[in-house]
């Protein structure tokens, strides 16, 4: 076999394995025994670890975006539309996607590395002989935790981002806080908020699932752990964009754009 066919075979093998992994998740997540403790612990760890980073990047994005947009709006004489424009950009696209990418970098990689090192040091086998289903204990709890936590982080990130943007607006002009918020919310519609909020559940699911998958099937050796962490970030980041693309197509077809 030449190199291309080997690469194609590896890719298809992995795609098949991932598909089985997804099916296994949907077969197992709703059945007892429920790992509530581990789920809440993961939610806490995930939120606690990524909130500072999400807040910081969100704040900077809001501020920078506002400052970058202002000259164009001034040129067209619609400077007063600045909060509305920024609000829509952040809530529809930038908030969810930037937060999800940061989340993939921070949480996806740490899940990949954690499960990978548990795999190579036989901790996953040890759980299994200790009367624990490691798939439920490790995978289901983490995937559910990322699925629920990312939307919450996106909401927080959006709020911080909009606050950054408020400061950005006030660099060159003076707007009161309440006026700024009124301007933003008056311009937001159902189709701005709900679809972009719903897609974040899928982003979170993708990050958790890919991180767990890469870790759970980590190759032997410590090198394999690094590779799991790395490819968890790469694959889930690409998936985030693909889901984003699908989401915009779907809302378009449904007439919510």
């Amino acid at each position: 076999m030449n190199r291309e066919t080997t690469a194609l075979k590896t890719f298809l093998d992995e795609a098949g394995q991932l598909t089985r992994f997804v099916f296994r998740f949907f077969r197992e997540w709703y059945r007892p025994r429920y790992e509530f403790r581990e789920f809440f612990r993961q939610c806490f760890i995930i939120g606690y670890r990524s909130l500072p980073l999400v807040g910081l990047t969100g704040f900077i994005m809001g501020l920078v975006l506002t400052m970058q947009l202002r000259p164009s709006l001034v040129e067209y004489g619609v400077e007063s539309q600045l909060p509305a424009m920024v609000g829509i950009a952040i809530i529809r696209e930038i908030g969810p996607v930037i937060t999800a990418l940061i989340f993939a970098g921070k949480i996806g990689s740490s899940i990949g590395a954690e499960l990978g090192s548990m795999k190579v040091s036989e901790q996953i086998d040890a759980m299994e002989v200790s009367g624990t289903n490691p798939f439920k204990y490790l995978v289901v709890s983490r995937v559910l935790a990322t699925t629920f936590m990312l939307p919450i982080l996106v909401l927080m990130g959006d709020a911080i981002s909009l606050y950054g943007s408020y400061l950005g607006v006030n660099i060159r002009s003076v707007t009161s806080f309440s006026l700024y918020w009124t301007q933003i919310f008056d311009n937001l519609t159902f189709s701005d908020v709900i679809p972009s909020f719903l897609k974040t559940f899928f982003f979170g699911f993708a990050v958790g699932l890919i991180g767990c998958f890469k870790g759970y099937y980590s190759n032997k050796g410590t090198e394999g752990v690094g590779r799991s962490a790395n490819s968890a970030v790469v694959v889930s980041s690409v998936l985030i964009f693909i889901i984003d693309l699908l989401a915009v197509q779907i809302t378009d077809i449904m007439g919510y754009n």
């Binding site: 954690e114 190579v120 040091s121 901790q123 040890a126 200790s130």
Partner: protein
């Protein structure tokens, strides 16, 4: 660590048919074209020590993972304490795993948990009805057995290799297993620490009258009193006997383990 053997050692009892606690018959296991185990047979009697010798990659870990049901077998029978392992459902296999301890080659201590949480894990997860106070007692007594009571609140990363092996052994002991499967208990340790681990294993075996299956290529394991030695070559049980018998085996591939 002043364990007095209350229960007599049963190792020297002659082979009685009903004293078999573990029997493997015609076991086959392959990964693709890699035929790891081919027609492997083994019996372990109550109170006995069996040492399985084999080169790296000969399938020793695969063998004991099949015994505990972590790997499925292709063909063959494995019977442990009356359970036919390949046919067990989840519930049954969990019942069996309470009675069979497994010491992993890489210890498999949970990095994110303290020593105490590591030891509590099998107790809590096996749905065993124990009160909080009893859990604490069981943890401390298992740690005393391995002589490491003072490490109870440490993290595994703060321990040395030999200490980690002992903690892993304590975690195996906490459920008072009838059979303990050791996967290369001395690999990665210096010879002196390795010897200490083996002494500890012998002591524990006397104290709790367990039967042990020890996978190894360490001469110190082979010299365990009354150990029966099985040499695993090409996926088969190639030779079997006591140390003295195998030391002078005509076949070089067997003899080389003892040089």
């Amino acid at each position: 660590m002043t364990a007095v053997s209350i229960i007599p050692v049963l190792a020297s009892i002659p082979e009685l048919p009903d004293s078999t606690v573990l029997s493997i018959e015609h076991l086959y296991k392959s990964f693709g074209d890699n035929h790891v185990l081919q027609d492997f047979n083994l019996k372990l009697h109550k109170g006995e020590n069996v040492v399985v010798l084999g080169k790296s990659g000969s399938g020793k870990s695969v063998l004991i993972k099949c015994i505990i049901g972590l790997l499925s077998v292709d063909r063959g029978d494995i019977e442990v304490l009356g359970y036919k392992v390949p046919e067990l459902d989840h519930e049954k296999i969990d019942q069996l795993r309470v009675r069979v301890g497994f010491l992993f080659q890489s210890n498999a201590l949970y990095d994110s948990m303290t020593v105490r949480e590591n030891l509590e894990f099998p107790l809590r997860r096996h749905w065993i009805q124990v009160k909080a106070r009893e859990v604490e007692e069981m943890v401390m007594s298992a740690l005393e057995d391995v002589g490491l009571s003072h490490t109870v609140d440490m993290m595994p990363s703060e321990l040395s290799g030999g200490m980690r092996k002992r903690i892993a052994l304590a975690r195996t002991l906490i459920l008072k297993p009838e059979i303990i499967l050791y996967d290369e208990p001395t690999t990665g340790l210096d010879p002196i620490t390795g010897k200490e681990i083996i002494d500890l294993m012998v002591e524990i075996q006397k104290k709790y009258a367990t039967s042990s299956l020890i996978i190894s290529h360490d001469m110190n394991c082979v010299k365990i009193e009354n150990a029966r030695i099985v040499v695993l070559i090409e996926g088969k049980c190639y030779a079997e006997g006591r140390y003295e018998e195998l030391k002078n085996h005509p076949e070089y591939r067997v003899k080389q383990f003892f040089e």
